[in-house]
């Protein structure tokens, strides 16, 4: 396999990086076979590779979270002259922040195109994020 000069440098650099990371305690040459382990596997944390992010779980968590703040929170505001303003603030914060988060996650739910990466980036990310 013939590779160009600088490309060979980068490829060897990636391998050097990998060897450095694998030099951390706990892992031996078996690591080079690269079982399907997730990120931070070189640190000894065993995790299945790149678990599919679920959509339902974050939605449930954040809806509950902002729902608690926006719907349940107003019941616990102590009586006083500022009660109305504090309730307004809680509800407005919950609505704004929840809506903003929801837009961000919905926009990424069904991507129509993927990221365009440089080859150097691909070289190291393909090993780093696994």
């Amino acid at each position: 396999v013939r590779v160009r000069g600088p490309a060979r440098l980068i490829a060897s650099g990636a391998r050097l990086l990998l060897r450095m990371l694998s030099a951390l305690p706990g892992r031996g040459p078996a690591h080079l076979q690269r079982p399907l382990l997730g990120p931070a596997s070189h640190l000894g944390i065993l995790r299945p590779a790149m678990t599919a992010h679920s959509f339902a779980l974050p939605v449930i968590i954040f809806t509950t979270f902002w729902g608690l703040i926006g719907i349940a929170g107003p019941w616990f505001v102590p009586k006083g002259p500022n009660r109305g303003v504090i309730i307004t603030m809680l509800v407005a914060t919950a609505v704004c922040c929840y809506l903003f988060w929801l837009i961000a996650i919905l926009a990424q739910l069904n991507p129509l195109f993927g990221p365009q990466l440089k080859n150097e980036t691909i070289w190291y990310v393909r090993f780093l994020w696994e």
Binding site: V3, R4, V85, T93, L99, I103, A107, L117, W129
Partner: protein
């Protein structure tokens, strides 16, 4: 504090103040700051009002106070601040204060006059000594030695009298800039009969009045002839020269010089010009007087200021001579009415009379009163900067507390910058009670300090939106693992090293299995910060986000208008205005939001190549046309869209004609019955004159009368139609332009992100990449980081912060508030002395 939802109820009260107690009552009201007096004597000029004499006396006193203050400042002392509560003094005390002040002022003037006289005397002596001491050698020598022979030929020419053969001298001093003119004039006028010599002093003398050093030119004129002498004296008088007697004999002159020096020494000693000399009489007396001034002036100023304010307020009351009392009208919050009555009762029972206040009905629009604390004050301030709300209309401020920082943060989103702003604001908030901070005079600091709670919330929300945008000083963080798997793409597409070496850029394809693993749970996926096409994705995301936020914000504004219509009893507007408005807005732009969300949910990467374009669909919706290449998002889309457009267009005539026709129809029976009914109204008006406002029918500039259904007889059809037409056009066109205006959220957040990235790439990134040795890199990083920090604060925090602030403010003032807020009211500004107390 009360609710900020709408203005508190404000009532017009009529106060009856017996003459004996009027002053104390008003002074007590001023201390409490509860009421705003209405001017009942608006048609009377300031010079004809009842208490004009007292006001004038107060003003004269204030002039004297200013003079005393100036003297204190000239002596280099500082006036202490007044301590304790200082109520307005009763009128009889004014005379005492006046006398004392006048006495002090006179003494100070005398002392100053003495000082001036002494200084002038000293100056004269010094000048005389300088003139005498100055050597005009050759002239004098010539005058002494070659006396007779020199003079002979000169005397014969004019053929004048032969008695005055002696040489006389005129010696004096003149200012240097006048010396050439003097010399020329002397030569022209008395040529041949005088010899003048001008010489400048070596050292400047201190000017007696200004204290600045001034240079003098001494001259010695030797002349012969009495008439020449008179001419010379007239000329020197014209030039305002100081002329001194000049003795001929040298010893006599020396004796005179010695005497002068002795005199000036005594004077200097006596005057005590510098502190290290023994203090002269004058100086001691002066310090005594100034001490009394320092004691009298601060409380005196406060008291006289309050007194003047009370008299100005009393001038606004009308006099009822039959009842020997003053009648005042004031606006007072209904909640404060008991406190008002108690205050009046307390201050009038001291005098043995009773002052009363009772509420009267009023046709004018009352002022708006919204109580705020130091947190809500800044938000109410930015709403009021646009316009104070009409009486009892919905106040946008409580929602602005959150939406304003939120919209700012959408445009500013960056965790690092938000954190810096939050910490800065936190420091100001925690230090807000320290006196050093409160007393700072710098205007720019005061501006930031007054908005510290605003900055606090803005920073906090910016941290949140920074996490969502996944930007911390333009760097992305992977809190969760990324949803895009580069390895899967590489493995499945056969990206070997050789392949990668040949292709500089490669794109991940979400259609390949295992490449896209799901949406990032919190925010934007970190892989996009590594991507070259990240702007393509982010722009699409941010534009859609801006439209969604904009439509939600505007719909909320329209909904707030419902509360206004219900409160003012205009329920017909709910059906005839709010409903059409909401239908129009949501039918068109709410549908756009629906399309956006539907496409996000239902169009997946598998059909990416033929994905429908929302923009084309939206355009075709209005043009009722069809693009064959653009597939529909859902079945029967065209039918739905056509229905919505027709519905929205149908709302326009309802909006345009609904309310005017309804109002006209309701008042047509009134209009017909009006001639008969008017006489009854007039009679009723005369009968309840004692109760009605004395000032009720006078013109009030800013107070627009609210149209009540029963009372108005001025329903002009053309005006109503015109008003409604303007409102309709404004709303319908505004819907389109305002929705587009919200795209500034996208524009500014893009600008901020790009600036941040450029700063990192050009400064820090290069700095971190410099040098392989640890030592070199560390040393070089220090100035590079300094540059990075300075530019971050100056460009990204200050400039971008101001910019985002401005645009968020505009979005609130224009796009949000024009859906429901009129802002044509005026604030209740109570009569208070509070400005003088702090």
């Amino acid at each position: 504090m009360g609710s900020m939802f709408r203005s508190e109820e404000v009532a017009l009260v009529q106060l009856f103040l017996p003459t004996a107690a009027a002053y104390t009552c008003v002074s007590r009201l001023g201390e409490l700051g509860l009421v705003e007096f209405r001017d009942l004597n608006a048609s009377v000029s300031a010079f004809q009002r009842r208490f004009v004499v007292d006001v004038r006396r107060c003003e004269e006193l204030e002039k004297t106070f200013t003079f005393l203050q100036e003297e204190v400042r000239r002596a280099g002392l500082v006036l202490p601040l007044p301590e304790g509560r200082l109520p307005a003094p009763p009128p009889r005390d004014l005379l005492r204060i006046q006398e004392e002040t006048e006495r002090l002022a006179q003494e100070l003037r005398d002392v100053r006059g003495n000082q001036q006289a002494l200084r002038a005397q000293l100056h004269q002596l010094q000048l005389h000594a300088a003139v005498l001491g100055q050597g005009h050698g050759p002239q004098l020598a010539a005058a002494h030695t070659d006396g007779t022979s020199e003079r002979m030929p000169l005397l014969q020419a004019p053929g004048g009298p032969h008695q005055d053969l002696r040489v006389n001298f005129v010696a004096g001093a003149v200012e240097p800039h006048k010396a050439p003119a003097l010399e020329r004039l002397l030569w022209r006028a008395c040529r041949g009969f005088l010899i003048a010599s001008f010489r400048e002093l070596e050292q400047p003398l201190e000017h007696p009045v200004t204290g600045k050093p001034a240079m003098w030119m001494t001259f010695l004129i030797s002349y012969w002839g009495e008439q020449i002498g008179q001419k010379i004296r007239k000329i020197t008088d014209c030039f305002h020269c100081h002329v001194f007697p000049f003795l001929e004999q040298e010893e006599a002159r020396r004796g005179a010089l010695r005497q002068l020096q002795q005199q000036s020494q005594e004077l200097f000693f006596f005057w005590g010009g510098q502190r290290r000399w023994v203090l002269g009489e004058t100086e001691r007396f002066l310090s005594q007087v100034l001490g009394r001034v320092l004691q009298l002036l601060p409380p005196g100023q406060v008291q006289v200021h309050k007194m003047k304010a009370v008299y100005l307020a009393l001038n606004q009351c009308s006099v009822s001579t039959t009842h020997k009392c003053l009648i005042a009208e004031a606006w007072c919050s209904v909640r404060d009415l008991p406190a008002l009555q108690e205050a009046l009762r307390d201050s009038s029972t001291e005098e043995g009379v009773s002052a009363v206040a009772h509420r009267i009905p009023c046709r004018d629009m009352p002022p708006t009163l919204i109580r705020t604390n130091r947190f809500t004050a800044s938000f109410q301030g930015i709403v009021d900067a646009y316009g104070v709300g009409r009486y009892q209309e919905v106040n946008p401020a409580p929602y602005t507390i959150i939406t304003f920082p939120f919209l700012f943060a959408v445009m500013f989103g960056d965790v690092g910058h938000g954190l810096l702003m939050f910490l800065f604001a936190l420091a100001m908030v925690l230090a807000e009670n320290q006196p050093a901070v409160k007393a700072a005079q710098n205007e720019i600091w005061q501006t930031f300090f007054r908005g510290r709670y605003l900055l606090l919330l803005m920073g906090l929300f910016s941290i949140y939106t920074g996490f969502i945008y996944n930007e911390c000083f333009s760097r992305a963080t992977s809190i969760f693992p990324s949803g895009w798997s580069v390895a899967a793409m590489a493995n499945q597409s056969g990206w070997s090293d050789a392949f990668l070496a040949q292709h500089a850029m490669l794109t991940l394809d979400p259609n390949v299995t295992g490449v896209f693993l799901g949406p990032y749970p919190f925010g934007i996926d970190p892989v996009w910060s590594l991507a070259a096409n990240h702007l393509s994705f982010l722009n699409s995301f941010k534009m859609k986000m801006s439209v969604i936020l904009g439509v939600v914000h505007m719909a909320f504004g329209v909904v707030l208008g419902i509360f206004n219509h219900v409160h003012f009893g205009q329920k017909h507007r709910l059906l005839l205005e709010t409903l059409p408005e909401l239908t129009f807005l949501l039918g068109l732009f709410g549908y756009l939001v629906f399309l956006v969300i539907y496409k996000w949910l239902c169009v997946s990467a598998a059909s990416a190549a033929s994905a429908p374009s929302i923009l084309i669909h939206f355009i075709n919706m209005f043009l009722f046309s069809h693009s064959p290449t653009n597939r529909p998002l859902y079945p029967r889309q065209e039918v739905v869209q056509a229905t919505l457009v027709v519905l929205a267009l149908a709302m326009v005539p309802i909006l345009l004609l609904g309310t005017p026709l309804h109002l006209l129809r309701r008042h047509r029976p009134h209009l017909r019955r009006r001639p008969a009914g008017r006489q009854e109204e007039d009679k009723a008006g005369l009968l309840d004159l004692p109760d009605a406002s004395v000032n009720g029918w006078s013109s009030d500039e800013e107070k627009a009368g609210g149209l009540d259904d029963e009372e108005e007889a001025e329903l002009v059809p053309s005006e109503v139609l015109m008003h409604q037409a303007i409102h309709t056009i404004e709303f319908c066109l505004g819907c389109v332009s305002n929705t587009a205006s919200y795209l500034r959220l996208w524009a500014l957040s893009l600008a901020h992100a790009q600036l941040s990235e450029v700063l990192w790439a050009m400064v820090m990134s290069i700095g971190l990449g410099l040098g392989r040795e640890v030592g070199v890199a560390a040393v070089v990083l220090v100035p590079i980081f300094a540059a990075f920090a300075v530019m971050t604060v100056a460009i990204l925090l200050v400039m971008e912060g101001l910019s985002a602030f401005l645009h968020a403010l505009r979005l609130h003032w224009v796009e949000f508030q024009n859906k429901f807020y009129s802002g044509t009211g005026y604030k209740l500004s109570p009569f208070t002395f509070a400005a003088t107390d702090d």
